[in-house]
């Protein structure tokens, strides 16, 4: 079989903007100053003004700028080119309609400190989104303030901290505080990092050979007391649903702790099962995953927190609230009078532009479409799992949910590793899957197709992976040398880290640009 999905085509090289800069070029024009000019020294004394004349900042015309960014953009793979199966990232279709909604002048041009009575539409958007997220998670208390998943984690575990302190009445007394946060060894790195940031001591729970949380180990750790809570991803980072979730929650609750759920994998559950019904106390959602707000090359995201009524008083301030005037009609407002709140986690109210897109996603799918998307996402992952079952090693055999996990075990014999397989996928026209995560699985390949890809391309992916497996045996060098079709080959990351060059400086000149 030859590679049919992709081939090569001519592309432009392009230097750094700084290397392109030419003194005297202009890419902007402002209206002429329309007020009497004040002498510069009367504006600001010289010692407060810049001396460097912004030396080094580029000088370019508008076409220069457009060509620069257009050229470099063409070096990126992206969702609109095809399958982007990064496990745990839910790279689903980003609707243009939602982009349009976010740019409606009445939203994009609204200042966050505008009086509430003049911002009712924006407050309604946030309030309505909160309502829908509460229904989807089964957890009534919602804050849209966190800017991403990790931010939501921090917010959630801080709420647990505050709740426990209040409940146990030990806000002051360090010693008596419950300090232990239990986190499975399969968890995403942000979980322990967020727990640490919130003052918890992290204790790691083993996973079972099935890829599930080890209940006995969990009980053991709880027995030791001082347990504040558990951070659990469900489906977990192996793509497997924690079927003992209710028991797990019971154990933690009996031990006096609370359960935090990392909602990064909610694309497997929306409309099918609700964390609130499983015993979860607080969760974050990634609007940039499950609810399709664009990943933007690394962000922005949005990581709302949803919690039980018990925890609601501890949510960040301000809260977006609704008050119904008798005789119908509602007004929306911001409420900061929450004495038990963990406080603010971000200036203003969160990434409002993402709230708009997520609400547009929910309203476009509708009740049935939300469940349909979940089913389609899980089905696609199963299709791949099924197609690759005979070719790649599956560390766990529980049926995968929205993503499936494989390893390079069968390929390593010939020296081909996960990284090589990933790089070779590029030649076949795909973005690679998530690799070497979760850490508990050696040579992990975590594949999440999402619902946004059709059968034919799924099959192309399966075929490509099988072909690479064949190459790994018959023609290992081709795989080890991949990618062969890109502008630049594998980059020496080790050398880059040894002598980091983190910014351009006039000295440095463009290599072949």
């Amino acid at each position: 079989m030859s590679i049919t999905k992709a081939t090569t085509h001519v592309t432009q090289n392009e230097a750094l903007v700084f290397e392109r800069s030419q003194a005297g070029r202009r890419g902007y024009r402002l209206p002429a100053l329309d007020v009497e000019e004040t002498a510069i020294d009367d504006l600001l004394p010289a010692e407060l003004r810049r001396e460097d004349d912004l030396e080094g900042v580029p000088e370019l015309s508008e076409p220069d700028v457009v060509r620069h960014f257009t050229r470099i953009s063409t070096w990126n793979y992206n969702i609109d080119l095809g399958l982007y199966p990064l496990g745990s990232c839910t790279m689903k279709y980003n609707s243009r309609l939602n982009e349009r909604v976010a740019r409606i002048p009445g939203f994009a041009g609204l200042h966050p400190l505008a009086p509430e009575e003049d911002a009712q539409g924006a407050l309604e958007v946030m309030y309505e989104l909160q309502q829908h997220l509460a229904e989807i998670t089964g957890l009534p208390g919602v804050s849209l303030q966190p800017a991403a998943g990790a931010h939501g984690e921090m917010t959630g575990v801080m709420m647990i901290r505050a709740f426990l302190d209040a409940r146990d009445g030990v806000t002051s007394d360090e010693a008596k505080r419950r300090k232990v946060m239990l986190i499975p060894d399969s968890a995403h790195g942000t979980n322990p990092a967020s727990a640490h940031l919130s003052g918890f001591t992290v204790k790691t729970i083993r996973s079972t050979p099935e890829g599930l949380t080890d209940l006995d180990h969990l009980r053991e750790l709880c027995a030791s007391g001082a347990v504040a809570g558990l951070m659990l991803t469900n489906p977990n980072t192996c793509g497997i649903f924690e079927r003992n979730i209710k028991e797990i929650c019971r154990v933690i609750h009996e031990a006096g702790g609370l359960v935090y759920m990392d909602g990064a994998n909610m694309n497997a559950l929306v409309g099918v099962a609700r964390p609130g019904d499983m015993g979860v106390d607080v969760i974050h959602l990634n609007l940039h995953k499950t609810f399709s707000t664009p990943h933007g090359g690394g962000g922005p995201g949005s990581g709302p927190c949803c919690c039980t009524a018990e925890l609601e008083p501890f949510l960040p301030v301000p809260r977006v609230v609704r008050s119904d005037a008798e005789g119908g009609g509602a007004t929306y407002g911001l409420d900061s009078e929450r004495p038990q709140s963990v406080g603010r986690v971000k200036a203003f109210y969160g990434n409002f532009g993402m709230h708009l897109r997520a609400l547009a996603y929910i309203l476009t799918h509708g009740r049935d479409g939300l469940r349909e998307a979940t089913e389609a996402a899980v089905l696609n992952a199963r299709f791949i799992a099924h197609g690759l079952a005979d070719t790649f090693d599956r560390p766990f055999d529980s049926p995968p949910m929205h993503e499936c996990l494989f390893t390079d075990k069968r390929q390593t014999r010939k020296g081909v590793h996960t990284l090589d397989i990933a790089k070779r996928l590029i030649d076949y026209g795909f973005h690679p899957m998530t690799i070497y995560f979760p850490l508990i699985v050696q040579g992990a390949m975590l594949i999440e197709p999402t619902e946004s890809v059709g059968r034919a391309e799924l099959q192309q992916f399966v075929d490509a992976m099988k072909e690479i497996a064949r190459e790994a045996v018959e023609d290992a060098d081709t795989v080890l040398g991949a990618p062969h079709t890109t502008r630049i080959g594998r980059l020496d990351e080790a050398a880059a880290a040894r002598k980091p060059v983190l910014r351009w400086r006039p000295a440095e000149k463009a290599a072949g640009a």
Binding site: S21, V57, S73, G297, V342, F348, Y349, E451, G489
Partner: protein
């Protein structure tokens, strides 16, 4: 559902191929008692036409978006060249994710490297990261970093730092064993006063904002010397990035860490987000910096490219020992800022800053001359300043909006109950002379 490629029929076939007879069976690994037995209670699906009508109707209820505005205080109305939005809307940029695979992500990586460089140039520092959530979280991360660097636990924060930034920092450090002290503001000058006594050897850092929350430009140089003398770090916060075009860079004044809100660089105010946090520091602290970093790398043929580097600082490797828990950052907004800085360029950034300062000066003259109004602070300002009204500010601003159709600024009482009559006015290049005149007239007319 039109976003799902596989049709219902195709999905049925796929299910059969897996030996399943219904989609429900896909969830057999879930215990029955957690399965939702009813449809979600969310609305029915809307078509594009209906959806746009709904959002347009809600947007129409945001009256403030249609008025000339003098609001600033952390979010600024600046003009963004049209190409900023058209370029970031290329799917190559906005639908991609973190560049984990450099060979097919060089567009994003080179743009990040350019962003880092521009941030260094403007702040006058050596190293900048690929972005933080916003200015407020960047300040909190700076305080945490100062503790890591100095191993000291007291941090003095100017009372003229944006109140919301301070709140956010309080939340972040609540469990980090860091104690926040307060540096008072001189009522007369409007600048932060640093009393030597507070600067003992337990102090990890001093945090000042300039231009500060009241619009006054701080004398950073003076701070730097005394802070360094005490072995502490100077953390400088900037909420109005447009000021970099005119004010001496914090780096040139001796700052050790500079954090800023980048919204002024071509990003819509969008009711508070998404924005982008700028974070830069000195070379020697590079390995203590939070968040992502792009760096130069070469392939076997010696071709230059860019990669994410120094990852050993980050959560996905260091887990609880990471320099920060941040993962997803504000990539696309950082790109917008990069395009903005490039399009405006060296001269444009200077001209925007100059026009802001000039128009603010004009507004100060107009308002300062109004009977009953005063300008309480004497320190030089950039484009924001406090106006003391003869009557309660909130009510005055409400009348100004309803009767004169001008959003006149921020009533400081929102954050500082002790300053009932004070208004924080912000003027940018987008405010026309006529708007400023209308503001002045309106203030006069609305004060009773």
């Amino acid at each position: 559902m039109r976003y799902i490629p596989n049709s219902p029929e195709e999905r049925q076939e796929m299910l059969r191929g897996l030996g399943l007879s219904s989609a429900a069976e896909l969830f057999d690994s879930l215990p029955q008692d957690v399965i939702l037995k009813r449809p979600l209670d969310t609305p029915e699906a809307l078509s594009e036409i209906e959806l746009l009508e709904r959002f347009e109707a809600m947007a129409a209820r945001n009256a403030a978006a249609r008025r000339p505005s003098f609001l600033g205080a952390g979010a600024y109305h600046h003009y963004a060249p049209t190409i900023v939005d058209s370029l970031i809307q290329r799917s190559e940029f906005f639908t991609a994710y973190t560049p984990y695979q450099p060979e097919i992500s060089q567009g994003t990586l080179q743009a990040i490297f350019e962003f880092q460089t521009l941030v260094c140039q403007l702040t006058g520092m050596d190293v900048a990261n690929a972005s933080m959530y916003d200015g407020s979280t960047a300040m909190a991360e700076a305080v945490l970093m100062a503790e890591r660097v100095t191993r000291r636990t007291r941090v003095l924060v100017s009372a003229a730092v944006h109140p919301e930034y301070l709140r956010v920092t309080e939340t972040y450090v609540a469990h980090a064993g860091i104690e926040l002290g307060r540096l008072e503001v001189d009522e007369e000058t409007g600048r932060t006063s640093l009393d030597a006594s507070a600067l003992d050897d337990g102090v990890a850092a001093v945090v000042v904002q300039s231009p500060n929350f009241f619009g006054c430009v701080e004398d950073l140089r003076a701070f730097a010397d005394r802070v360094h003398a005490a072995g502490a770090l100077l953390v400088v916060v900037v909420t109005e990035a447009a000021s970099f075009g005119l004010l001496r860079s914090p780096g040139a004044c001796g700052a050790d860490i500079v954090v800023a809100e980048g919204q002024s660089f071509g990003v819509p105010v969008s009711y508070g987000g998404p924005y982008v946090g700028l974070f830069s520091t000195r070379e020697k602290y590079a390995r203590q910096i939070p968040g992502r970093l792009a760096g130069v790398a070469f392939d076997k043929e010696g071709r230059r490219g860019f990669v994410l580097t120094l990852a050993t600082r980050e959560q996905h490797i260091r887990r609880e020992k990471a320099t920060s828990n941040i993962c997803t950052n504000e990539g696309l907004i950082a790109l917008a800022a990069t395009v903005y800085m490039t399009a405006m360029g060296r001269r444009g950034l200077q001209e925007v800053a100059a026009q802001c300062a000039q128009k603010a000066a004009y507004a100060r003259r107009r308002i300062g001359a109004l009977e009953g109004f005063s300008l309480p602070h004497s320190a030089p300002v950039f484009n924001e300043f406090v106006v003391r009204a003869p009557s309660e500010a909130a009510g005055l601003l409400r009348r100004l909006a309803s009767e004169h159709n001008v959003t006149g600024g921020l009533a400081l009482s929102r954050y500082l109950p002790g300053r009932p009559n004070d208004i924080l006015v912000c003027v940018t290049e987008t405010n026309k002379r006529a708007d400023i005149d209308a503001l002045a007239e309106g203030l006069k007319g609305s004060s009773r």
